[in-house]
């Protein structure tokens, strides 16, 4: 006899495919007697009480307000208070783009990280092919990783294709940043453009952060193409400034504004959304004081700009531990920070 008996949503009316869990009547983990009222569910016709068929410890598998399919499990009754219960059933909301069946098949075949398409809403096979073509067309130079990194990767990744993500954060004075922006009038409208400008230059000093992990190699990009995340009413997009390290402040600021305008006009084309070698995401406007952004495919790091708190804000660098480690990430951040604060 299994130690966790599933309790399923009863079919109460012919009209309902799902019911809403209105209210739990028993605390999580509390013992219940047979016949006890476990929860209230709302069908299209009324609110009903669901009772326990047998006794046990109640282990919730849904939250109040959730929709639970008729016949689906909304809780378990276990013999002991701490018996393991199955993980939540799959089918929870998935973020990110939708992939067609063919696109997904190609992704799996080619081992492409779905995150490469995070700027898109719907991905067709054709989009995956275009991505593969643009990745292979890029000028890259491959160098084998050190033996130490290879063994570390083997130990940590277990053969998975995804990055071994890690995060380093460095606090930066809000006041110094503000003064730096004041002295760079080109970035008055888009202050984080200054960070992008300086990050592009920092990448020249740290080429490994402008590379990605490829089958045991570090694949270095020739160019520095910095993408920045825009998430407004047109959905999440990552427009890219190509050759960001060789653009002037004015050029950089203008291009950011052009890209933002194209975003709002829904005119960002594939060229402007692809080819990124590093990404910046700015959540300072969202009041988030620290976060761990996801690294884009065929990149090894992403810089997050967090909201200020107590006079300073964090620069969060999420990186692929297969290429980098905390120390190199810290060095990158310190150089970037000093580039910014030196302008203040």
């Amino acid at each position: 006899m299994p130690d966790a008996k599933p309790v399923r949503v009863p079919q109460e009316t012919v009209n309902d495919e799902r019911v809403r869990l209105v209210r739990w009547r028993v605390e999580e983990g509390a013992p219940v007697e047979p016949g006890a009222v476990l929860a209230e569910i709302e069908t299209s016709k009324s609110v009903l009480e669901v009772t326990a068929g047998e006794g046990g410890f109640l282990r919730r598998a849904a939250s109040e307000g959730d929709w639970v399919p008729v016949g689906g499990v909304f809780c378990y009754l276990t013999v002991h208070a701490d018996d393991p219960v199955p993980a939540a059933e799959a089918g929870a909301k998935t973020e990110g783009p939708a992939f067609s069946r063919k696109a997904r098949a190609l992704l799996e075949k080619e081992g492409v990280d779905p995150a490469a398409f995070s700027g898109m809403g719907m991905v067709r096979e054709e989009d995956v092919r275009r991505h593969l073509a643009s990745a292979s067309a890029k000028g890259v130079r491959r160098e084998p990783l050190s033996a130490r990194k290879r063994s570390e990767n083997a130990a940590l990744s277990g053969g998975g294709a995804n990055a071994l993500r890690s995060l380093a954060a460095l606090r930066c004075s809000e006041e110094a940043y503000r003064r730096a922006v004041e002295r760079a009038p080109a970035f008055e409208a888009t202050p984080s453009g200054l960070i992008l400008f300086e990050a592009a230059r920092t990448l020249k000093e740290f080429p490994l952060f402008n590379a990605y992990y490829a089958d045991g190699d570090a694949a270095y990009y020739d160019g520095v193409n910095v993408g920045f995340v825009v998430d407004g009413d047109r959905g999440l997009r990552v427009p890219v400034i190509h050759g960001a390290d060789s653009k002037t402040e004015d050029e950089t600021a203008r291009e950011i504004q052009d890209l933002l305008l194209a975003y709002h006009e829904d005119e960002l084309n594939v060229e402007r959304l692809s080819g990124g070698t590093f990404t910046i995401t700015d959540l300072s406007g969202e009041g988030v004081t620290r976060f761990d952004p996801l690294i884009n495919a065929a990149q090894s790091a992403i810089l997050g700009v967090a909201a200020p708190e107590g006079g300073s804000f964090e620069l969060c660098l999420a990186f692929d531990h297969r290429l980098h480690e905390g120390r190199s990430a810290a060095a990158f951040l310190h150089v970037l920070k000093s580039r910014i604060t030196a302008r203040a």
Partner: protein, 643 residues
């Protein structure tokens, strides 16, 4: 003869002079359309009108001239109306059978006026307003079932309505003995309605009987049935009287005017001449103004729209929001009342849309008998009397039972009464199948009710909050409004996730068009309305997932008047239109939408998906095969793209 009798005689002679002149005008080709005269029956209207007060309402039928003049005295407005002149009481739109002035309303379709009058009485009574309602019916109308629905409701709800049955023993050409079984008074008595009677050839006694009837109704004793035996001396209309001349001649002998003329020739001649002169003057005045001064607007409703992101769905089922919307309306507006079948607690409606409302608003949410024609007819009447009734028909299929009220009454009042009144009410009903309810409880019949000027037809879906939707309905309620709900929609959550990758927008129309767009250019536009949106969404998700076809869905909430512009805009981008509906597509909104696009040169590739051309079977397997679903959309979309 005393003064009052003289006044009655003057009125009777005026009515007769007007009708006699109308007949001659017709013969001279100066009058368009038909004329039903009440020559011989004049004292019927006069006897009743004498006891009425300004706040009372009179509802009449095709033979209404006498009632109208007796009630309003406006012979000039009547003559101008029949001569089609702008200064007619309805601007020449109504003509002989469709008169309105103050509290007087007539309509030419038999029987349907009975529930309209009952509805007026309901609204006056419900809101404690003074006034009673009189409705004139002919004995030929005793063949109409809706009369008995009205008797039943008026009696059960003890409404202040006086049913006057003018018994002239002939219906057009058919003598009563061929068509009437049983007794006349017994019909009303069977519903517990008190009855009385009089005859027009004894005017004094008739007036007394009418006075007692009116007084009884006015005293709050419920409806009353007054039978007035009378004689129609002329044809039903013109030249269609096949009664033997001797029979009619006998009737002429007991014509009350005939008797008065014999008794008081001098007075009679004087008043008759007075009436003749007045009528002649009225005819001359009418002819001074040309007919047809009205400007016709014939806009097709085409209007470009702008779009905004749709708000997130409420965390509730559609039926809960409908219920809240109805509660909102009851709370906000005393004029709002609900009636229909099985609405009251504890049942709360077959689909629970009215649950709790009869308890929260006692007396304002009422169960009716199974009388769809009377339910909608009463909504018409209550609305004309200043109410904002909301009625429910349990199944959309039952709209057929109320079709006369929708088509010949609701949609006509506004225009035919010279835009001086309207019947602002809400008719809610669920359409749709997939429940195994079979041929007569699963249909989507909206196409039969679309396109009637003066009405509005709207359809709910799960992507626009029903509470907000109904809020807009009530805020703009200026005409009969049919709101299509759907059996499956009731239980749908409003916060279901969108198909992955799609974005949802709504237009800036009062009843917005819903647009579900893929993130890249659409290959195909899928048009639907109502709960068909659910299958459409599933299909759009599958078409992307399985076929890499990008579909844009356009879902209208305003079916009539219909704005095809948002659809045209989408199709002009995608190049292809697939329409999807659960009803039969022959002459449906799908066909109409496609026609509108074709007229503008937008339509290139087009296909229709609709119910199979047969009634909807009850067997699950057969029903699934009869009604198009997401799989059918996927298949048809592929064909369209491969073409």
């Amino acid at each position: 003869m005393d003064d009052r009798s003289e006044d009655r005689l003057r009125a009777a002679l005026l009515i007769r002079a007007v009708e006699t002149r109308l007949l001659s005008l017709y013969a001279e080709g100066r009058l368009n359309g038909t004329v039903h005269t009440c020559i011989g029956q004049e004292y019927s209207g006069i006897a009743v009108a004498e006891h009425l007060r300004p706040e009372d309402r009179v509802v009449s039928n095709h033979r209404c001239h006498g009632h109208f003049i007796a009630r309003t005295g406006d012979a000039e407005g009547l003559i101008a109306e029949l001569m089609g002149r702008p200064q007619g009481v309805c601007g020449g739109r109504g003509g002989s059978q469709h008169l309105h002035k103050d509290g007087f309303y007539s309509n030419g379709v038999q029987g349907g006026i009975a529930p309209v009058a009952t509805g007026m009485a309901y609204e006056l009574f419900r809101r404690g307003q003074d006034g009673i309602v009189v409705v004139f019916l002919g004995d030929g109308t005793l063949g109409e079932g809706v009369v008995y629905e009205s008797f039943n409701l008026a009696s059960k709800w003890s409404l202040p309505v006086l049913f006057v049955l003018e018994n002239n023993r002939v219906a057009q050409s058919t003598p009563q003995r061929q068509t009437l079984a049983g007794g006349i008074d017994a019909r009303a008595a069977a519903f517990g309605i008190a009855t009385g009677s009089g005859v027009t050839w004894k005017p004094e006694a008739l007036i007394t009987a009418a006075g007692e009837a009116v007084a009884r109704v006015r005293a709050g004793k419920g409806p009353f049935f007054l039978r007035i035996d009378t004689d129609r001396l002329n044809a039903h209309s013109k030249g269609d009287d096949d009664r033997p001349a001797a029979e009619v001649a006998k009737l002429r002998e007991r014509d009350p005017l005939h008797a008065i003329r014999a008794a008081e020739p001098e007075l009679y001649d004087r008043l008759e001449e007075e009436a003749r002169l007045r009528v002649e003057k009225a005819v001359e005045a009418a002819e001074k103004v040309p007919e047809g001064g009205e400007d016709f607007e014939d806009a097709d409703g085409w209007r470009g729209v702008s779009w905004s992101a749709a708000p997130g769905g409420e965390k509730a089922r559609a039926v809960v929001r409908i219920n809240q919307a109805l509660a909102d309306a009851l709370k906000a507006d005393e004029r709002v009342s609900l009636f229909g079948e099985d609405l009251e607690d504890p049942y709360g409606g077959a689909f629970k849309a009215t649950k709790g409302l009869s308890s929260a608003y006692p007396g304002r949410v009422r169960n009716t008998p199974i009388s769809e024609a009377a339910i909608v007819g009463m909504a018409n009447g209550a609305a004309l009397a200043g109410g904002r009734p909301v009625v429910e028909l349990m199944f959309g299929d039952f709209m057929a039972l109320a079709a006369d009220q929708w088509i010949n009454h609701a949609s006509k009042f506004g225009y035919m009464y010279g835009d001086s009144v309207a019947a602002p009410f809400v008719l809610r009903t669920p359409m749709g199948g997939r429940r195994g309810y079979g041929p007569t409880h699963s249909q989507s019949l909206e196409k039969h009710f679309l396109g009637l000027p003066g009405t509005r037809v709207l359809a709910l879906n799960a992507r626009f909050d029903p509470r907000e939707f109904y809020k807009r309905v009530f805020a703009s309620l200026d005409r009969p409004t049919l709101v299509l709900e759907n059996k499956l929609l009731y239980g749908r959550p409003l916060d279901a996730p969108l198909p992955a990758g799609f974005s949802l927008e709504i237009s800036d129309e009062a009843f917005p068009t819903i647009r579900l767009s893929p993130d890249a250019g659409a290959d195909l536009t899928l048009f639907c309305w109502g709960d068909a949106l659910d299958e459409a969404e599933r299909a759009a998700a599958r078409l992307f997932e399985e076929e890499e076809i990008f579909v844009e869905i356009i879902c209208s909430t305003a079916l009539y008047p219909f704005n095809a512009a948002p659809l045209a805009e989408s199709v002009s981008r995608s190049g292809r239109l697939l329409t999807f509906e659960e009803g039969l597509s022959f002459s449906s909104l799908s066909a109409e939408a496609a026609a509108a696009l074709a007229e503008r040169g937008v339509l290139k590739q087009f296909s229709r998906l609709a119910s199979a051309r047969r009634p909807i079977p009850s067997s699950k397997v057969l029903e699934v095969r009869s009604l198009p679903d997401a799989a059918a959309i996927v298949a048809r979309a592929k064909e369209l793209l491969d073409a």
